[in-house]
Subunit: 334 residues, 2 copies
């Protein structure tokens, strides 16, 4: 048996046993967007970490240093957002190949610091080392959240309405330009490329959802809607029915897909790194949640389906047929 | 200008400005073994992170998976020890090349979990990704310490006695076997090799020093005594005089060096990864500290020199002459 056979999530299951020796102040261990531990107050600390490796997560020639730095921190901020917490302190480990220019490194930290400033986050430490061939960036970040209102993956309930805080699939279209070594040409292509390179973490949206009293579970879209919603379903022991008609895709993505004969819904389901939030909310409070969201952000909270009993993962297509949804997002070892 | 010109510590100085946007609960930012932040109680949280990259920090063929996992966590525990804090939660990011066997990975986690268990530490999360060529491990770890008794690098005082909690140089000798592709043969060589592969973090010693009320500053020996003591001196704006006669070297190292015509003191000064603690203590309380240390650990707390005024970094050799000490430890970009 090897890694490929068990996949990324099989590997995580494999390493999880016997990892908690002192459960006293642990509120959430391996298995969510971030771990949570009690500090004996009304607030608790959340902590998450993300490793980015050149040629796996990014191609250095395709991203500016600024974009790479910005995105490295954004991915972590998005995990804090998915917990409904406020980010606080970031720790940046960097492994630098000898031929890396100081200018490129300066740009990485400029991108990171600009985003950190926006969210009042500190960079409090890290590690700087060399690397033989690939540039490596690991960001660990802490946040604080209210004990009673943090959002987890494993608490979705049958009957919940599934919501999404923004467009899906744009980042995957943006990635296409990198993978095909093409340049985005018109404005809509440039916006898709920017959605990939400079994603906005939904921190305010996460705090809004956590404070709403209506939301049962939440995750951020880093691997793709089909994969990430599956995490909520599996961890909560429920199923879901997505509504194809409800899945929010941008005009930019529609245009991009139309020109190339691609399916925008496929991009939305399989695309990762959109860093929007998907949550499930009490159906009785859903209407008010949508209204309040609109009032706060002047944008729509998209209703994209419902949580169901049992382990069926379905999508109702535009013509009304139910089809199976398979996790199509990213698995590092598959 | 490039990285080589400014070196690892020049690079850290370069990225430090504008990294703190919200100083409110920050007790220590970039520049110590760990960052420290206030949680509004008598205790505070310390956090440190270490990145290990294959072919830079370790050679996969030379270490068992167990040793690699154990050592990855030990290096982080040692930073927590140097703060005088108790370790709590670890977060492991791993970047795995496709050809890595599941058995080797299982062994990494076995080594890590055995050490975690010894110190009642949890592994609460992390990230699992692929990597193209090199195995990558980043560990971030939190700890807790008492607000008034944490140990920093920048608080050494003129007249302090410099102490060391264990032998220096063994790990460097152990590394020789790896670099020369030799096998340790007799028992003393095997002990040196083990000092390199399975270092014991001085957690209990760090807590003892923090609680003693006698210690002004502390650091762990990860880059080598000359480099690490220089960090204390520079951050505290003081100098030091080491006593060659006082530097503790093991019988194993003496034997090893004698057989090969090497200088054991050179190994002690330049060798990294010993993961013992070096601290500076109030000279009036030094005698009691030594006695109490011996009573607690049944081992000697080695007195190795004194902190002086000004920026002179000296060693008094066995024949009484004063020589300059230069940082000879590891710099990733030099």
């Amino acid at each position: 048996m090897n890694l490929k056979d068990i996949g990324e999530f099989g590997f995580i299951k494999r390493i999880t046993p016997n990892s908690v020796n002192n459960p006293k102040n642990v509120m959430r261990a391996i298995g969510d967007d971030a771990a949570v531990f009690d500090i004996g107050k009304n607030e608790c600390v959340v902590l998450t970490t993300d490793l980015l490796v050149e040629r796996v997560h990014f191609i250095k020639e395709a991203l500016t240093g600024y974009q790479l730095g910005y995105k490295s921190l954004a991915a972590n901020l998005s995990d804090i957002a998915a917990m409904g917490a406020s980010p606080q302190h970031a720790f940046v480990s960097i492994g630098i190949p000898k031929d890396t220019s100081l200018e490129y490194l300066d740009e990485i930290y400029r991108g990171m610091k600009e985003l950190a400033k926006q969210y009042n986050v500190n960079i409090l430490g890290g590690d700087t080392t060399s690397s033989i061939v690939d540039l490596i960036i690991n960001v660990a970040i802490t946040g604080v959240g209210k004990k009673g209102s943090l959002l987890y993956r494993n608490t979705a309930k049958e009957g919940d309405i599934i919501f999404c805080t923004g467009f899906l699939g744009d980042s995957k279209a943006g990635l296409d330009f990198i993978l095909k070594s093409e340049q985005p040409e018109n404005n809509n292509e440039k916006r898709l490329f920017e959605a990939h390179c400079l994603p906005r973490p939904h921190i305010e949206e996460g705090l809004f959802l956590a404070n709403s009293g209506a939301v049962h579970s939440c995750i951020d879209i880093s691997d793709g809607l089909s994969s990430d919603l599956m995490h909520i379903a599996e961890e909560s022991n429920v199923g879901f029915v997505l509504l194809e008609d409800g899945i929010p895709v941008s005009e930019d993505l529609l245009q991009y897909c139309k020109e190339r004969g691609y399916s925008a819904v496929e991009y939305a389901l399989a695309g990762g790194e959109d860093y929007v939030l998907v949550c499930t909310a009490d159906s009785k409070k859903a209407r008010k949640l949508e209204k309040d969201f609109y009032k706060t952000f002047k944008r729509t909270l998209y209703s994209i389906g419902t949580i169901t009993k049992g382990k069926q993962y379905l999508m109702k297509t535009k013509d009304g047929t139910l089809i199976d949804v398979k996790p199509k997002g990213w698995d590092h070892f598959a």
